[in-house]
Assembly symmetry: C2
């Protein structure tokens, strides 16, 4: 198969490295942005060298960002090329248009690398779905926050210096918002819902809380209760809606997700005959993510018939009642839902749905909340 | 696809239950042993009704035991039927003959359900192997022993009453030797080596130690060091040989396998670009195991070309030096390899290879040994 690669960063370089030693996959052209990236004779700064090349069967997009990635892939599809992307933000925002266009042109869109790095999550879901409808999933989908939370827990450190260190080591972006505010996980939850349930949740309706305001003392409290904090993305299929959220959760230490440390990701599916199954692996990094991309290319090479999800957009409802850990400088605003006091600004709530809690905390920007596993 | 089912026990019933609600899979005949099992009009006591039926495409064997399962499958293959089996003992002992016959007759042998119950372990290995050679694997392959070890650890109980309870609940066989002496895991390690490395280890050369003689105090010691005991099967690819063993291991509590509890199995693979990946799920049970069997049937339905492993038999060498926990009534016999004393009959050894240790303990039947993770 002849491949056109859009983007030659961390993931793109891994893809060309793996393809270059394969027997059947040939990266023919590589789109780069800047002059200094023109290090390989296959590199070009003109996307038309890829989109307009009839020899290229598959366009692999590892650019990130919504535009111009979306436009490039749309044109690739219109030129009857299969598409593989590692770009969760773009795909979660533009999946309806892209899938509709792919069906029209009889090509496929693969996106294993959008979730869980090298973990064969999408492939495992597809396999399970041959037998079971998938009822729910939950997981650690972000390596950067898991690295920070693991070190906070193991070494009793504060959040801020660890974030700075992660940025210096290149584990976290200079603008870390997508990671630490949970946006990255939100896109992954949406794409997992798409694969697992065949529906597209309304992105803005997914309650999304991150770890920006977490403190050492929150983890100390969790530890005193035999728990640890993880940033968990969840999806549960309901009749006519889905339950989906991105939320710090105090997990019991014996929970398999509680023991997924550092930059590892772990995702659990639940379905009727298989029951609970957990898939764990490196959630990011050049080669694991590139491995997922190349698996997609092999799937395209091996598959004859394309399958198109008949996607319908569904509303997100989080009505299940839970106990939350809640720390806020304006804690008195929440008097009616508070139960057990932990310190002056920290309480456990009475049982409340995430939807109801979210309405209450809309204006409270520096709040830290975590679901407490029962 | 039309299916002939050999055996209608726990797994076989699960297979017919899943197939009966599928769109394309039809269980046409079911071989049962006794009159009281003739509960379904498809049941027969004459295997020829299946092996001789030209309409049947796939023969699924869930009988257990080496014979007559082996003979039936050999005849099925000679009659050009694909074969799916959940029978690890038979396949680990007879794989060379069966695969040779399958290649001759251009049919395939699938065996996902032999290892890890519902966990897509063989499928994941196959997928990884499209890109990476697999370097090693290790895992919890037996649900019965993991259930006993988990409860010993959580509730500080002794082995014997838990085994009795597991037998009463039907989790353990009346003759529990295959589970508690590690034989069941040995077969699974051998079949995993076959899939992962393309070689057949000499079965008798795999050092196999179980948990028959484990005591509460062994787990108490492990716990005092921040560890827990799991029965671990391992395979590591070497030049011209493999390292493979079945052995209790004191694992650090933060190891992902240490947190795989009760009847769950977990298997980790390591390979160049994907790195470490862990697959966790229910290691036994009617529906999870049947799920794995039915996945194999779908693979046969979807695949056109068969692949035959070019299997070579290789020797097993365990020369890596490790520290072992060793408890024996004849502990003085081991004076030259002992290091730190734990109690009158229990020591940690100096670093020693498993091969050398095995030579020393050949005659000592009631010994308990465990590798201590470093």
């Amino acid at each position: 198969m002849k491949i056109g690669l859009l983007g030659h960063g961390v993931v793109g370089k891994g893809v060309s490295r793996i393809c270059d030693v394969s027997k059947t996959l040939q990266v023919k052209r590589i789109l780069v942005k800047d002059d200094w990236e023109l290090t390989d004779p296959r590199c070009t700064q003109n996307v038309q060298d890829i989109l307009g090349d009839p020899e290229i069967d598959v366009v692999v997009e590892c650019m990130g960002g919504i535009e111009p990635a979306r436009t490039f892939l749309m044109k690739a599809i219109q030129n009857h090329k299969h598409v593989v992307t590692s770009n969760k933000k773009m795909l979660a925002n533009c999946c309806e248009d892209l899938f509709a266009e792919a069906e029209k042109n009889n090509v496929s869109i693969h996106y294993e690398a959008t979730c869980g790095g090298g973990i064969p999550w999408m492939a495992s879901l597809e396999r399970i779905l041959r037998i079971d409808p998938v009822d729910s999933f939950r997981g650690i989908f972000n390596g950067t926050t898991n690295y920070i939370l693991s070190r906070m827990d193991l070494e009793s450190l504060e959040f801020e210096p660890l974030l700075k260190e992660a940025q210096q080591l290149g584990y976290a972006e200079q603008n870390p918002s997508d990671d630490i505010d949970g946006m990255d996980v939100k896109y992954k939850v949406a794409l997992s819902c798409m694969k697992a349930f065949g529906v597209i949740p309304v992105l803005d309706e997914i309650p999304t809380y991150g770890i920006r305001y977490i403190q050492k003392k929150d983890l100390d409290y969790a530890k005193s209760k035999g728990m640890t904090c993880k940033l968990i993305g969840t999806g549960i299929k309901k009749e006519g809606s889905i339950e989906a959220s991105v939320l710090p959760v105090f997990l019991k230490k014996e929970d398999v997700l509680a023991n997924t440390s550092m930059n590892f990701n772990a995702i659990e599916s639940d379905s009727a005959t298989l029951g609970k199954a957990v898939f764990t692996g490196q959630g990011a990094g050049s080669l694991p993510t590139a491995h997922a991309v190349v698996q997609d290319i092999y799937d395209i090479e091996n598959k004859e018939a394309m399958e198109y999800p008949s996607l319908q957009e569904v509303t997100v409802i989080n009505s299940a009642e839970k106990i939350f850990y809640l720390r806020s400088k304006q804690i008195t605003d929440y008097a009616d839902i508070l139960d057990q006091q932990i310190d002056a600004e920290t309480y456990l709530t009475k049982k409340i749905s995430l939807d109801d809690l979210q309405k209450k905390i809309q204006e409270d920007k520096e709040i830290f909340i975590a679901e407490v596993q029962e």
